[in-house]
Amino acid sequence: MAGKTKASHVWHKAIKHIGNGYIDLICQCVDPTTDIYAGHGMGVSTTVGNLTIFVTADPDYMTNITVAEDIANEDRYFLGRKKGAMILHNQKLSGGYQIGAAVYKTAAGTWSHVDHAAGQSLLMEVGVVVGPSDRITTGVIKDIDAALTATEPVDICI
């Protein structure tokens, strides 16, 4: 494959489909180095904001995110399916995050990257940064691959 994927390689909008009890959306993942097939469960990885392949005996709270379309070697973004999800608007991030980043709501009332090394983020159903995909920041049009900063209101799929 030519190179690792970006969010815009996966889909031109962060949300592909709002289905019957689920939302298909772009999620960030660690390079799987192999194929991961539709239906596979995803858990929180040690790379902040990324999801990874679920492992047996994982005691953490279920993310309720599965693979919606197969993930191939070198993919860094994939289409995930989040069950029973909704979109929260006008949320705040604690740093500069991108579409597809997995986040959890911290005590400070903002959303931070989930991290397998951060105990608190393993106790919750994680959210995913889903927008806005297109926006104007200081007069410049940003697209889906541009980072969202802590000063921008964002959409979170939880």
Partner: protein, 158 residues
Amino acid sequence: MAKTTPSLVWHKPIKVIGDGYIDLICKTPDIGATTYWVGQGLELGDDGAFVKFTTDQPDYNPNIIVAEDIVQSDLYFLGRKHGAKILHNQKLAAGTYGIGDAVYKMGAGTWTHADKDTAASLLMEVGIICGPAQRVTAGVMKTMDDTFLATEPVDICA
């Protein structure tokens, strides 16, 4: 009581597509002299069948519960799969399958029986074979109680 077949449970594999869920026929081993009540969580058993969920279950949650009570001698029941969709024109691995079988997408890109003794199938939210209920194979009309082969396209609720 005689053991059930898929057609005894419902005349179509999918009973209802509800608000965020699909009720459909699933397979179970005979549960003996007991009853599984509506709402009971299920997990993987052997050869594509579901059994009662157990405490401290470390595997990925299949998100399937009992939609109508299961009684002794039932081999098929109505399960409720949350946040599901129907995939068409899917391929099964070598073998024979029936309506209601739990399957997962394996390395070969086809679907095969999920089984508690197959580690890979414990990492995923499984699919259920749900069609086509009626089909013509080699000029003969088959019904929902007949098996599927690897050469037939099938519908999977995943």
